[in-house]
Symmetry: C2
């Protein structure tokens, strides 16, 4: 705002809300006003929930997931098959795979991809802990569920290398046509991969 | 999420974030993860700012604006002309007019529009306080800056009625072509109004 029309506390709230992904400067103003108007129903409970997250959320020392307990809920769940690990770049990928609930297994969160230009080498990612976890035994398969980007694939190759001496099967996600996808809109790389990996009907 | 993959605190944070305007269930997850990852830079300061807003923000007893002081920063500002009041439906309209910084005057926030079907009559809005404010003297003009909707215009007519006995000029915003607007995209009502209120070139 061009001139002072409210106390600095409201300005600051708007500025900080604008940094939340999904909110811009305009929607941050709308959000701030909504929060202020719904003090009891929303601002209070949300402040409390954020305070709790601030205090309790930590990174799981086993898999790199974020949770309010360490080891996290997933590493602690005895009903999950410990012999398969899905390696993901980020916690958001773990959440996405869990929403699909395709497999009842455990995870390992790398915390990014190898990117020498940005100064991210193997030591900046949770790679050592993955190799240690597999070397400790009990893991039969490691599924590399990294993104299908250049960085993701580079990281996958590096991981395959690191795990090659150990008695473990390393697999990766299938490439192909997304379910519900139209061929016309797909790139050549995906179509080629989908043709190569064709299956019996 | 279909099964428990994190402590209830994270789920609750996501659920509450999803109620913030501008965020949906999907972007609330992204926002929660971002906040958790940026504990020091964002989650901490934002929690603090929200706590301060929760504690300090109140409704101005003079004009109905929200601020951390009562009377609010605008009502307290001695450089603003007290002889003109702009009547708005909502605080967001006040903020919008202030961003335009067209006039250095004071405001009166109604808190909505008359809507008998929703049970909103004159007593549910800050109308009594507006009439009292004008009756107390010193106000020469009341600008009705309500929305150009049916409810807004109904409210404007009611307000004109209530203020008719007092020695005050009641005006409303001009109808016309928005600056930068294309005639082709404008409705007939706006075009008719713009033609009627044409000015010398």
């Amino acid at each position: 705002m061009s001139k002072r029309i409210a106390g600095p506390e409201i300005e600051r709230l708007i500025q900080l809300l604008a940094k939340v992904p999904g909110l811009g400067p305009r929607s941050a103003r709308r959000a701030a006003l909504h929060l202020i108007k719904k003090k009891e129903q929303l601002l209070g409970p949300l402040t409390e929930a954020m305070g709790e997250a601030l205090e309790k959320v930590r990174v799981c020392s086993t898999c790199g997931n974020v949770d309010t307990s360490d080891p996290c809920t997933i590493c602690n769940d005895p009903r999950r098959d410990p012999s398969t690990l899905i390696v993901v770049e980020d916690v958001s990928d773990l959440w996405a795979l869990e929403r699909a609930s395709a497999m009842n297994v455990r995870y390992h969160v790398l915390g990014g991809t190898l990117s020498p230009l940005d100064g991210i080498g193997p030591d900046q990612l949770n790679i050592r802990s993955l190799v240690d976890r597999v070397a400790a035994g009990g893991v039969k398969e490691v599924i590399l569920a990294v993104n299908a980007t250049v960085e993701g694939q580079t990281t996958a190759h590096y991981l395959t290398d690191q795990l090659s001496g150990l008695d473990v099967k390393v697999t990766r996600l299938a490439h192909g046509v997304p379910v519900g996808g139209e061929l016309d809109y797909l790139d050549e790389g995906t179509l080629t991969a989908a043709l190569k990996s064709r299956t019996a009907f």
